[in-house]
């Protein structure tokens, strides 16, 4: 199970506002969130705008990666590029070989572009995906 995991608890308690909604009991609030399956995890900003979603369960190590990517996606929309980049860099550092690592690297490239408006900065980061994860869907998303 994911939530009993100590590292997951520590990450959620330290960095997030945890909100649990019931699909039916809280239907007025949940309906606009377009949730069709439970559990669905959503990561939203302080206005309630959802920036990332994850369906069903993940093992703790992958769940932690999902939290980092989801928070980074939210932070980058608020132009908090340094924080977003740090979160995305922490995924391969903590969990090398994890299945969400190529996604984290991909988004770190996009954050680098948004911060610098330099294609070179983005492609320098994306090169790692091409070299280490050439078969991932994220490598195919590199033009």
């Amino acid at each position: 199970m994911t939530y009993p995991d100590a590292a997951v608890r520590a990450a959620v308690n330290a960095r997030f506002v945890p909100l649990r909604l019931d699909l039916f009991r809280d239907s007025a609030v949940v309906r606009p969130l377009n949730v069709v399956w439970t559990p669905t995890l959503l990561i939203a900003d302080r206005r309630g705008v959802v920036h990332y979603r994850s369906v069903n369960f993940l093992p703790p190590a992958d769940f932690l990666d999902m939290l980092d990517i989801g928070e980074a996606q939210t932070r980058l929309k608020w132009a908090e590029y340094d924080r977003a980049s740090d979160l995305l860099a922490s995924v391969p550092a903590r969990h090398p070989g994890g299945p969400l690592v190529p996604e984290a690297i991909y988004w770190r490239g996009i954050v680098a572009y948004l911060k610098t408006h330099a294609n070179d900065a983005m492609y320098a980061i994306w090169r790692e995906i091409q070299e280490r994860y050439p078969d991932s869907i994220w490598a195919r998303r590199i033009p």
Binding site: Y3, D5, A6, A7, V8, R9, A10, A11, V12, N13, R15, F16, V17, P18, L19, R20, L21, D22, L23, F24, R25, D26, V29, V30, L33, V35, T38, P39, T40, L41, L42, I43, A44, D45, R46, R47, G48, V50, L67, G70, E71, T74, R75
Partner: protein, 35 residues
Amino acid sequence: MITGSPITWLTDWDAALAEARRLRRVVLIDVWKDP
């Protein structure tokens, strides 16, 4: 070993957003249903 207190889930949308503004945090929403 990392230790962590149990997660205390809020259950009110407006209260969660107010807390997120106060703490400048993002919101982790777990949509579930009673078994």
